[in-house]
């Protein structure tokens, strides 16, 4: 009797803790959303908590009316799509041959690849290489140098290992070559992991900015995060205006900052629920060692 009561109290404490966690995760987003939809006067008076005051869409109109910002959104979207495709092709090209247990030199290739996970030359050697290859200030520098993640490749390979070898063997008996087997058996069976890894790559590119900060001086090719960084670190609207060319509107900077944050976040929040069931499976696969 006493025990069942303590169990219930324990459960309540856990539920209470989880509710706190949910609030901690959602509250910042709700607050910024409310700020982006509020009037700048309400913001200055510190009236905005979780519900917009003086509801209006001025900040969004201003952001969408700014060609620099819309171009940056479009460019980042293009960049994300291309990078994701390149990365997935590279990941499959790397993972698939390594699943053949009888591939000669497999151990050597594995070592060659895994070593790069633990030892890196560092920022400056990479910078100097890109300089020598003519990649500095070239849009390709945002696509190619980090197109293949060893971690994601291992996830892909673990998934391929899970496909029964008997399927491959029977296809081989029917005379199918490795490429046919890849396209007809492995890829169709790997949709969940491909969705997961595409999400990882896409989110990485959408959220990434340090490569652009270091290797890309042409503002036109800056991804959205870098533009956002400049906007967030300009304190006044005049500074925002001079920094990024927004039409100056006094007092608007706070709502404007909130709106730009929402713009960069919404694409991720929109795909997140749809892909959730895939990425949990993928993240779990990453935990399997081999």
């Amino acid at each position: 009797m006493i025990r069942s009561k303590t169990y219930k109290a324990g459960d309540l404490i856990i539920v209470f803790f989880c509710i706190l966690l949910i609030i901690a995760c959602l509250l910042p987003m709700l607050n910024v959303l409310a700020r982006s939809l509020s009037s700048s006067e309400a913001l200055i008076r510190n009236e905005v908590m979780l519900w917009p005051k003086g509801w209006n869409l001025n900040a969004y109109r201003l952001v969408l009316g700014d060609s620099k910002y819309t171009w940056s959104l479009a460019w980042t979207a293009i960049l994300t799509v291309i990078s994701t495709i390149v990365s997935m092709v590279m990941t499959i090209l790397c993972a698939y041959p390594l699943t053949y247990a009888n591939l000669k030199g497999r151990g050597f290739f594995n070592t060659l690849i895994l070593f790069t996970m633990y030892f890196s030359a560092g920022t400056i050697p990479h910078y100097l290489l890109y300089k020598d290859l003519g990649l500095l200030n070239n849009p390709l520098v945002l696509i190619i140098p980090n197109s293949l993640s060893v971690f994601n490749m291992i996830i892909m390979r673990s998934f391929f290992y899970g496909i029964p070898a008997s399927l491959r063997e029977s296809a081989e008996i029917d005379g199918a070559g490795p490429i046919r087997i890849l396209f007809n058996i492995y890829l169709p069976l790997s949709k969940p992991v491909m969705a997961t890894l595409s999400l990882f790559y896409a989110v990485g590119r959408w959220n990434g900015f340090s490569d652009a900060l270091m290797y890309m001086n042409i503002r036109k090719y800056h991804p959205i995060q870098l533009l956002l960084y400049n906007i967030l670190n300009s304190i006044t609207s005049i500074e925002v205006a001079t920094q990024e060319g927004f039409a100056s509107a006094p007092g608007l900077s706070a709502t404007l900052q909130a709106a730009t944050v929402m713009f960069a976040t919404v694409p991720i929040l929109m795909i997140y629920p749809w892909l959730q069931k895939y990425f949990i499976a993928g993240a779990t696969l990453g935990a399997i060692k081999d």
């Binding site: 910024v32 020598d132 706070a254």
Partner: protein, 315 residues
Amino acid sequence: MQQVLSHGRNRKRAVINYLSKYWTLYLMLSIPITYFIIFRYIPMTYIQIAFKKYSIIQNPWQMPWAKNNGFEYFIRAFSNRDFLYALRNTVMLNLLDLIIGFPAPIILALLLNELTFKRFKRFTQSVAYMPHFLSWIIISGLAKQLLAPSTGLVNIALNKLGFASIPFLTKPGHWVATYVFLGIWKNVGWNTIIYLAALTNINPELYEASAIDGAGRFQNIRYITLPGLRPTIVTLLILSLGHILGSEFDRPFALSNSLVSGVSNVISIFVYQYGVRGLQFSLTTAVGLFQSVISVFFLLGANAFAKKFGERGIW
């Protein structure tokens, strides 16, 4: 004689047979291998710049050796105040992440595991994974708006409750706490995934047996759940120890500001400022090499240590 010849012929035939079957695999693999050689191994040849006097017109092999048997730039780094601060900050922030940030997902996974309401559990997980997908720039944007001294939601609430405002992002000590907290906020949910997966591998019969023995919740955690998580915890701990001198760039760069640069400048930011912006390539390559070598040593050391205590280690 006859036998040797036929043996040789068989071998040759086997090789041709093997290649005709699998040459496409090598063709596929050649692309990622070329990638690794160009973008991961060739940069390693540039490491020699750390020991040489950088010259823009020569390639690294032709550059003259630096003074002090080539160690000039390591000596300069260790007599550079900015670098010493960056080194201290890197170790400090990583240690705090390790001490406070590392156990957080384990505790959360244990809590989620104890939740009996399945739907509520799934909802909590969905919400808690979400911050992992936000960039550090966005998180810094959220933090700057939420934690601003007079206009942020948190401080407004504190003021209304009669407390003074807290300078979360503008005083060095507070900034460090905020930095560690935001790291937990972003990743605690996501990092539970790996532990929750490990929990499903624990044999349910153990819990049934312990129920018959009349064990309580804490005894279950102490004697069944935590031992079941041990291999996962050890693996992740080794990897974290390997990163003790590694430094992220995005997180301190996005969160820092001029008021707290004394604690927020870490090695990666030092390299960015002195190397990419300041063009002191030999000095910053030396710093990067120091960082990589120490990281490898920490990783090897932690792995050896774990193996000594009967754990599996990471390889």
